[in-house]
């Protein structure tokens, strides 16, 4: 296997439960290149969130190897950033103070961080909203703040766990375009968990298709749609081919 930035070999995760061992992930193998946008797609229970937690160093692996830059991934790292389905903003901090939090925790230069956080708020389209509290922002705006916070300490790898899953369809689409625009600018390595097949094809360079019971990687699809992408790609035959291929692999088409 060619060595990428992130490598998984025979990765397995077993949880001990009251009713016996539960296999969450079995024999997962992949390599993710630096700067790549990868989606993990699959139905509930396919282990995609477990895999993301393991990539974040928050969850121990049971068997196999998982490395980032050649180093075993078994604890949180400052060059990895995480974003969740809920914004997880702290309601007692303003939008700006929330974006400042990673820098404060990691003890980064305050002056530099101050300027950077203002830039990031501009980047996610929240110029002028820095002093608002999360309770005063809409769901979409809160996810924008979370996106800015994700980038604040400059991680190389972004792990995103269904970040737009709780938003309405229109806001989700707008956020996808926004994410692509930001990704084109920064070219970070992204691992994006979703159960929305269309979203995974629209965003990614490659889609990791996962299936449940036990959770495993059923296949990897390369999305050869040109970039930069706009919603126009959803009209292309290749887009629907890929979507239907993934549906077939997951087994939603009977």
């Amino acid at each position: 296997m060619t060595a990428g930035l992130i490598n998984a070999e025979h990765l397995t995760k077993v949880y001990g439960t009251a009713t016996g061992p539960l296999v969450a992930l079995t024999d997962v193998n992949f390599a993710i290149e630096e700067g790549e946008f990868v989606s993990l797609v699959g139905p509930s229970g396919c282990g995609k969130s477990t895999l993301l937690s393991m990539l974040g160093g928050l969850e121990e692996r049971s068997e196999g190897t998982l490395t980032l830059d050649g180093e075993t991934l078994d604890r949180p790292r400052t060059d990895i950033g995480m974003m969740f389905q809920t914004s997880v903003l702290f309601p007692w901090r303003t939008a700006r103070e929330n974006v400042r939090l990673p820098g404060i925790i990691l003890g980064l230069d305050p002056e530099e961080q101050k300027a950077k956080c203002d830039e990031l708020l501009d980047l996610v389209g929240l110029n002028g909203f820095g002093d608002r509290y999360p309770g005063e922002l809409s769901g979409g705006m809160r996810q924008r703040v979370a996106l800015a916070r994700l980038l604040a300490h400059g991680p190389r790898v972004l792990l995103m766990d269904e970040p737009f899953g709780a938003l309405d369809e229109f806001t989700r689409e707008a956020m996808n375009l926004e994410l692509l625009r930001i990704w084109e600018k920064t070219r970070k390595t992204v691992v994006f968990v979703t159960h929305n097949i269309g979203e995974s094809v629209f965003l990614s360079d490659r889609v990791f298709v996962m299936t449940p019971r036990p959770g495993r990687l059923a296949g990897i699809l390369t999305v050869d749609l040109p970039r930069p992408r706009t919603t126009a790609v959803m009209r292309e035959p290749r887009y629907s081919d890929l979507v239907f291929e993934i549906r077939r692999m997951i087994g939603v088409d009977h």
Binding site: S53, G56, G57, L58, P76, R77, T78, I80, G81, M82, F84, Q85, T86, V88, F90, P91, W92, L101, P102, I104, I105, L106, Y133, P134, G135, E136, H153, L159
Partner: protein
């Protein structure tokens, strides 16, 4: 229509719509004010109604004046009690006992709550006992505390501490542990230390529930001190109530109860005022 005229027209429309938005906002504000006024009138008239029933019941002899004094007698008794030279020293004793008991109960509740949440060894050692002690009524300790600590302030303070400790302890514990698992994940992913997680996430997150505990803590501290003074004391409002009751000065007892309630409610209001500022984000 020329272009200039079109722009002028649209500016006019904007101005018009801004005006109508202002009008709507003003209307909504008026409605809100009216609603609040109505609610206040309702509660005021209910209070007056109760007062009236009280007055009529005593005036027409439905209840004996020795059992329930009339409102006006109670009012005059309050004046008499407050002017008496024994009032201020006794009120001071009770205030001092309540405030000290409250402060110590609050501090120890927070301290133990934090220690039990943050240190597993502390949790393993004392948590089962604290949970077991939480169930029985603490008030049963009052006579023993008077025996142990005497007739003066220390026994009353001890009862207040024991009674107000538990709500503060349990609410601190609940507040510190009721946290969004994703927020904890976020802090872990940022390699935050335990202290950082406590300071930036757990503590502020716990404040709303801790404030609720603090209000309980306050009323229980008052209860503890008054009961302590009933059981055995040589000074204090509870002692006065007990003594006046014995002398069948029921109007005096009523007056003292009302004065004590006013004091308790005033502090309670102060706490709520502070709460609105401390956990300001709950109203956003």
């Amino acid at each position: 229509m020329t272009m200039e005229a079109g722009i002028a027209q649209s500016e006019f429309d904007t101005a018009q719509s801004e005006k109508s938005v202002e009008k709507h906002l003003a209307l909504a504000k008026t409605r809100e004010q009216r609603r609040r006024l109505t609610n206040r009138m309702l509660s005021a008239s209910f209070g007056l109604f109760v007062l009236l029933v009280w007055y009529l019941a005593t005036k027409y002899g439905f209840v004996h004046a020795l059992i329930i004094p009339s409102p006006q007698d109670t009012f005059f008794a309050a004046g008499r009690v407050m002017r008496a030279d024994y009032f201020l020293p006794n009120a001071w004793v009770t205030t001092y006992e309540i405030l000290l008991g409250f402060a110590l109960g609050l501090a120890s509740g927070v301290l133990f709550g934090v220690a039990v949440t943050m240190f597993e060894s502390v949790r393993a050692t004392i948590y089962p006992y604290l949970v077991a002690l939480q169930a029985p009524p603490k008030i049963v300790l009052a006579p023993i505390f008077v025996t142990w600590f005497g007739f003066d302030a220390p026994s009353k303070i001890a009862i207040a501490v024991v009674m107000s400790f538990f709500p503060m302890f349990l609410n601190t514990l609940t507040g510190l542990t009721s946290v969004d698992p994703n927020a904890v994940k976020l802090m872990r992913s940022l390699t935050a230390s335990r202290w950082q997680t406590f300071r930036f996430l757990l503590l502020p997150n716990a404040l709303p529930i801790m404030m609720a505990g603090l209000k309980l803590c306050w009323t229980l501290a008052v209860t503890g001190v008054i009961v302590g003074e009933f059981v055995g004391a040589s000074a204090g409002i509870g002692y006065l109530i007990y003594a006046m009751n014995f002398q069948l000065d029921i109007a005096g007892v009523f007056a003292l109860i009302i004065l004590l309630s006013l004091f308790t409610v005033a502090v309670y209001q102060l706490v709520e005022w502070a709460e609105a500022r401390i956990v300001f984000w709950k109203q956003l």
